[in-house]
């Protein structure tokens, strides 16, 4: 379970303060598929970065399974991200020098698994996203949709507790977007907790719950079905 309590994020630029998140409170149960939506500049990506431990909030608490993530040291946050969280970014965020298989295997190797075991698990993850036939391709040799599927494979290979996705379909055509969203739906059916930022209503509706932000505040929190 994820609990967000009194979360505030303010950016400072010299003497200028820009509040982006203003006292956010909500909780997400295990296995939920949540869309964070809102207009551009509403603070949805910033909220995702705080919950996914990629950034530090100015104040407030992020409690994941009873652990207050804001109390963790930088090294512990890194370890937490490695073992418990998975990420899918808008621009795929694959490493250009690594093949699809290596991109997926890298976090597993960092977890201490042997290279053979990591490759075996990574291969299964690639199979899962229907890219098992292209393990040796570099990101530059894959289409945008394929790169995003590799990114999903990397995010799920180590069976994370929570999968975070930041505008995962923003750079994709309709067909590729659909494939990625279908993948998320499948994962959700298997019990995967997914928190996805999107500005596309169509994909937002496919999730279980929508949290809508406006001007740094939660203005809507509803179940989709």
């Amino acid at each position: 379970m994820i609990e967000i309590k009194n979360l505030i994020k303010t950016y400072h630029d010299g003497k200028v303060e820009t509040p982006v998140l203003k006292d956010i409170n909500f909780s997400i149960e295990d296995g939920e598929f949540v869309a964070i939506m809102g207009r551009s500049g509403a603070g949805k990506s910033t909220l995702l970065y705080q919950i996914s431990l990629l950034d530090h909030p100015s104040s407030g608490d992020i409690i994941i399974d009873g652990v207050n993530a804001t109390d963790l040291s930088s090294d512990d946050r890194t370890k937490y991200r490695l073992h418990k969280l998975g990420y899918v970014f808008q621009d795929y965020a694959l490493l250009p020098d690594l093949t699809a298989l290596e991109n997926v295997a890298l976090p597993l190797i960092m977890q201490g698994k042997t290279t053979e075991h990591a490759y075996s698990v990574a291969k299964k993850a690639l199979d899962r996203v229907n890219l098992g036939h292209r393990p040796g391709n570099l990101p530059s040799q894959l289409s945008g949709g394929e790169q995003q599927r590799v990114s999903v494979a990397r995010a799920i290979a180590h069976k994370p507790k929570i999968l975070f996705a930041d505008e995962p379909t923003a750079n994709l055509d309709t067909e590729s977007s659909r494939v990625v969203i279908d993948l998320f739906k499948e994962l959700h059916k298997e019990g995967q907790t997914i928190i996805m930022v999107t500005h596309e209503e169509e994909y937002g509706k496919m999730t279980e719950r929508t949290i809508r932000l406006s001007d740094g505040k939660v203005v809507e929190d509803r179940k989709n079905r």
């Binding site: 990629l54 090294d75 490695l82 976090p107 960092m110």
Partner: protein
Amino acid sequence: MSFVPIRVGFFLAIRQIKHASLWTTILIMFVMTLTFLNLVVINGVLVGLMQGAVTAEKNKYTGDLIISNLNQKAYIENTSGILNILNGLPQVSLLSGRYLAGGTVESGYKTKTRDSDVTESAGGVIAGIDPVKENNFSGIGGLMIEGSYLAPDDYDKILLGADLLYKYTPIDTPGLKNLKTAGVGSLVRLHIGSTTREVLIKGIVKSKVGELDQRIFMVDSQLRSIIGRDDLNLNEISVVLKPGVDPLFVKNILVKNGFDQGAKIQTYLEAQPKFLKDIAQTFSLLGNMLGSIGLVVASITIFIVIFVNAITRRKFIGILKGIGIDSRAIEYSYIFQSIFYALSGTGLGVLFLYGFLVPYVNAHPINFPFSDGIIYVTVAGTSIRVIILLITTVVAGYIPARIIVKRNTLDAILGR
């Protein structure tokens, strides 16, 4: 301590090197090779210049061991006893004995028309040699730059060291006298004590060993008759030992037999002029200083290369941290890249140095005015420089990687 970050760092480094621009990699390796050569060769040439002089002194003059008369004595006492011992030692390979006397050589007296006309003269040590033995020892016959070498039956013929002729040593200072008009084929007067002989200059010797190039050589039997030496006591014995024999071992045998009471017994190192040792040390220091500048240049080069590499890959470093890759693993990846550049650069440098440069220069020494310079490098010295270069490169690669890795993860991912 976990080895996982090292493993991941290596994993990343290999792939980054594999996919790096070929030309950039070649350029960096070339810079490292040149830096290594700068570090080793400059020092090697400077020390080798003096080493050439030291080697020439040993091969052409002292041998491994040189026995000479004590300062207060006119000759080596009990020369025959020393020769008997040396000839009986299996460690001894060659011997060459010399008789020495002080004297001058005078020219221009034939064209003198008045008593007030000044002739020219040059002073030096006159060495009476066995032409065959001396040639076997030093190869002096091959050091003739004009004329020809002495034959055992040559009479009233001499060889002049090049320093005694203005033509080869064009120095005109009040303290140094040399002959301006004499040359091969000239008749000159040789003054030894009260004896004067007219002799023919048969050849000119240039050995680049100061002691020899200031000498006048003639057949030993004639010098003995001129100086009235009716015994066989020599003034110098140069001893060449078989390869691998420590000169101190043979010296100690002679000392144990008491010969040091009547002769000065020195290894070639002990007999080296002090200025040679001083200059060798000075040049080594100079070489290290110049090499250090090269080292600084190399470390700055690596710093810039890694910094630019890390800056341009800032986003990917952010992604790595974002997906949970330990900062140390990312830093190690840059350290491994630095090590790769350092090792490949120095590896090429070592191959070039030992595979071509050193053998080539040994076969074709650099013709310096006072020595035949070689590149003096030792395995230990080269290893130390490789290690220094490696450490410098690792530090130069680690610092920029650390600077970039320490930056905020999210800012790096978003390119802020």
